[in-house]
Amino acid sequence: MKINRTVAMALSAVLALGFVSDTSAADVPLVITGARVVTISGPVMENASIIIQNGKITSVGTGLTAPAGAKIIDGTGKTVYPGLFDGLTTLGLVEIGQGALGTVDTAELGDVNPHAKTWVAIQPDSELISVARAFGITTALSAPGGGLIAGQSAVIRTMGDTPLAMTVKAPVAMHMRYPTGAPVLDFSQGIPNIEPKTFEQRLQERKKNQEKELLKLHGLLEEARAFGDGMASGVSLKVDLPNEALAAAASGKLKVVMRANSEADIKGAIKFSNDNKLKMIIAGGAEAWRCTEELKKSDIPVLIGVDQLPSREGDPYDAAYANAATLNKAGVRFAIVTDDASNSRNLPFEAAMAFAFGLPREAALRAITLSPAEIFGVAGMLGSIETGKAATLIMTNGDILDHRTSITNVIIDGRETSLDNKHQRLYEKYKARP
């Protein structure tokens, strides 16, 4: 079968630019009054109002007049933040991680799945999504995992009845794993037999595997680039979904999220990115604090978790806690992410740990709002409280970095969303059981 030239062109255009789903706007204007507004992009405003119309912020500040017919939300004593943005999750793709494979759609079989797309497999009624939303996560990168090339991610809003309605932007990035050479063990049939070998033997084996995998990855990108060139030149090409999908990433039009944690792998990934002229984002980045110069020089942003053990036995105990502060000081762009689904609501607490270990408060808040929006190219609409941006906001009774704080309101694209969730329902049901 041959692919029609126009279709191919259209496909590559979509892959290159991404598409933005239309959001049906809320018709009732909202006004939040008298709140402390943490804008992220500018100074904190005290006793300020936010006017929301047609899903967008139409003004922020003091002395504003509410539009006719607006619903007033009293923000006295409350704090408003941009909705929290978890820049690496499997939200919508997994319900129960173990023992219920039917609910797990995070990783396709095989090593090379550039044509797998998360936004076709998102379950809008996942309990995990309503829990994340109720605790302030309004936006998330829903990303695939597994294999060398896992597939493409989408930025989703944690609201909506269909995957399309939830999709803010897709595709956002091609997800890959930097080859570590580590043997892939199959536990599906119980614990596999592992041949006894010396440390040196394993190290050599790993090096060889890594070289082989790297060569494979280089080859895949080269082939995809050639395929992309073919598509662009209009020659007849056989249907090849993987290459079609990979072409945009291989030619630097679509971002690549590369999972790499150790110093050697991060530095290897940076070189790989430069060699292939990719637009790379590192995910994991456990030892990013050891690679600040290289990351800064190539302007490669990093998605990091905070609540982790140090990766090396002799590392400072707070290596993961202070990773963010180190990157911030060095001018490396980064976002703090949970890399999870059920624990996504703990995003502000990971930022809090980074704050406790040296990251300035403003930077900690930015790392879970505006920074991921910038990294994924949606900062035009999300990540801060500014006129013209989407009215995706949360209101709290205190400091969002404080574990004791409660989230009182969640507004996504100008619509007040329900805070109802499985946990609240079970709490109400059982708290008064005698």
Partner: protein, 453 residues
Amino acid sequence: MNRSITLRAAFAASAFLSTAVLAQDNVTAITNAKIITVSSAGIIEKGTILIKGGKITSVGANVTAPAGATVIDAAGRVVTPGLIDAHSHTAVEGGVNECTNIVTAEVRVADALDPHDMNLYRQLAGGVTSANVLHGSCNSIGGQNATIKLRWGVPSGDELLFKGAPPGIKFALGENPKRTNFGGGVRRYPATRMGVEVTIRNAFLEAKAYKKEWDDYDAAVRTAAGSGGPIHSGRSAGAPGGGSMPRPQAPRKDLQMEALKEILEGKRLVHAHSYRADEILMLIDVANEMGFKIATFQHVLEGYKVASEIAKHGAGGSTFSDWWAYKMEAYDAIPYNAAIMASHGVVVSLNSDSDELARRLYWEAAKTVRYGGVTEEEAFKMVTINPAKQLRIDKWVGSIEVGKDADLAIFKSHPFAPDTRVEMTLVDGKVLFDRSKDVAARTGVAATLGGGQ
């Protein structure tokens, strides 16, 4: 990887520890501190704690440091009892699961403790000073626990053991002993929650028979001793010696049955890994039938559904603050679990089950304020005096009171505040973690960590 080399390197980097160890005879005074005592003394806004011989000898607002005391000025800082983790697998060398049998009550975690495990130090840096180190959850009745103090770097595992702490044992219900999530190849009994119940009942029926043999034997020995006559050492009643009492024959010692017998005698604490409400009720029923008590339900993620029943049995609940949905039996887990159990009279602790999470137990406690409106005072008990009560070590640790062990954490600010971190941790009055010295000892790229914070 060559572990001993990395260990030595790490030790070299932390050589300051040896100098930080304070002589036991000297008085140490922690001064100018805000003290969260977790006792009837409440919070002392500015006070002093005196430590001698590893014990707290004085605490209060009007206490002054004696001349010659080693003074730790904690102005602006907050001193709390060292945190206690009621569910840990830390410092266990190798695996924590003796998985090969359905009952492994004979194996002992204490035989496999590694006092040089770097994670002990990392947890000290999170203010943890004691932990309930448990066997894994592979078996319905698993191995024996070790209650330890985090005396990182002592020469032997034995020196980690918490002196006086009653022994315990791990039970496990539900998916883990069923081996639901552990590969499709090898199956092993039990494969259902029905089988889990049978396994435990069966083991205790055996244990009761075993106990009766020993009770009968002990009674016979007492009777023989009471009769005044000479007791033969002969193996049979027909041994020569005419007229004297034959020595009663001891039953065969069985290490597995010994542990279960101790449970029946109330000498060994049962820590039961559990998730669903049905299995919690099941174990309470079996325990009542067999005549033993459950000290704690561990994880107990659906404890909130049967909180009254747990309270009535007198068991504690040691749970995660908010983990859920990682497997089917955790799907109904809610972060309000601790609050609901506590409001129904259950002694609740928040545990880690993780060397990573253990380092921020103070914030795990803070979450119960958000989830269920637990007061800050009650919330902090969930990582201090409550786990101490659950492990029956509360006469030594869990609060700052005269006579108790000087196991203390010194926080930068209130332990629930977002800018807080642990600055110093003492075990038995010795400074085993001091952040300022840790940071000062960093060299090379490690010195750049945090951007010179």
